[in-house]
Symmetry: C2
Subunit: 217 residues, 2 copies
Amino acid sequence: MNTLAEENYLKCIYHLGIDAAIVSTNQIAASLNTKASSVTDMLKKLADKALINYTRYQGVTLTQAGEKIAVGIIRKHRLWEYFLVEKLNFKWDQVHDMAEEMEHISSQELVDRLDEFMGFPKHDPHGDPIPDCNGRFKTPELIPLSTLVVNQCGVISGVRDHTSPFLQYLEKQQLTIGKKITITDIIEYDHSVALKIETDKEIHISREVANNLLIAL
Amino acid sequence: MNTLAEENYLKCIYHLGIDAAIVSTNQIAASLNTKASSVTDMLKKLADKALINYTRYQGVTLTQAGEKIAVGIIRKHRLWEYFLVEKLNFKWDQVHDMAEEMEHISSQELVDRLDEFMGFPKHDPHGDPIPDCNGRFKTPELIPLSTLVVNQCGVISGVRDHTSPFLQYLEKQQLTIGKKITITDIIEYDHSVALKIETDKEIHISREVANNLLIAL
DNA sequence: TAAAAAATTTAGACTTATCTAAAATATGAA
DNA sequence: TTCATATTTTAGATAAGTCTAAATTTTTTA
Ligand SMILES: [Mn+2]
Ligand SMILES: [Mn+2]
Ligand SMILES: [Mn+2]
Ligand SMILES: [Mn+2]
């Protein structure tokens, strides 16, 4: 088995690897709030275990074995987040830190039964896909709300920023997963967006918020 | 906060302290499968944190602060065991190791909501009392089945041995928590016991089994 | 294409938790 | 009450994971 630190590195490399072919030491250090020298030490260890492809100074990618572990941890993270929100009535902005601990509970059977208990949910409270017990999942085509044009509509299906303040703001504005929205105006000056939520409520959001809200068309 | 190792030591000292006023270094070492010298090191650390009362060569007791932490961990352990059995349909002999990991999830609010979600259960799957959110619980008066006399009856309410083989054996014999039993015979030669379970099934158990089954009168 | 700057790695140190072997203390039997 | 034995503690090592500071390699820029 792998240590908690190893699991966190693998998960981190996986996430960073989504929008970069190769992941650099400094990226990992920034993401894990650690120092580059610590990262180098761990990369050697993970390479020895054949969980990453690593050559000095050249960055890393996950091996198949490493990716499998990373996806397993993400599966657990998202299933526990779903559990916390759906069964224990936490808000979507409260669950991430707890899931960061729970994702390291090792039993495979536990997570599979948890999955079954909740009816095999496909998405976590933030709209992120939950891998099945074979590690398979599909990433739906989502685009930032900021790329929509006036009169275009879509469904809120994910967020790019998972921090509490952002999620709390969205909740207050009723900009939650599953809501249908229609763009009513785009202000040229600051690229802020006016939109209607599910036919009734009309609101106005900044460019930054629009950039971090993901829409399915 | 306390480390995983510290939590395990506190819990261990708590359990050993139930039937001994003072807990010795060697007892802890045996219970945690570690060496006496490692225990001494940790005892110093826990004493520095004012979680135990410790004087060299004299054994330890928990301080109030230490006991509070220990009971909190036991609360989490038993609530997660209850969850695993009642919600995820694990057997009572399968849940201990998972709960050993889950008991270290730190969020107090999580455990309190879990408690509420399950309807504030009073006992875990092995009959052990679950402390409430203030750490209060009462230990019912239980006696080993081996102390009963012929024709005496009682209710199976706990076990002294929590290992899988024993629990599996009990399950197979239908000697599970809540079952009413009546002693029908005690064999003088080997102190084995014949008993009736809930009016119908008649079985025969060894002295050792009778010693490890706890009965409420 | 050769410096300068940035990124990465190495060297050496620290903390936590563990170990073995040796020393100190307590206990209990003669 | 003394000495043999058991218990406990100390001393010194080790492994994991982290850090700072220095050295090395890569990348950028002039
Ligand atoms: Mn999360
Ligand atoms: Mn999430
Ligand atoms: Mn248990
Ligand atoms: Mn139990």
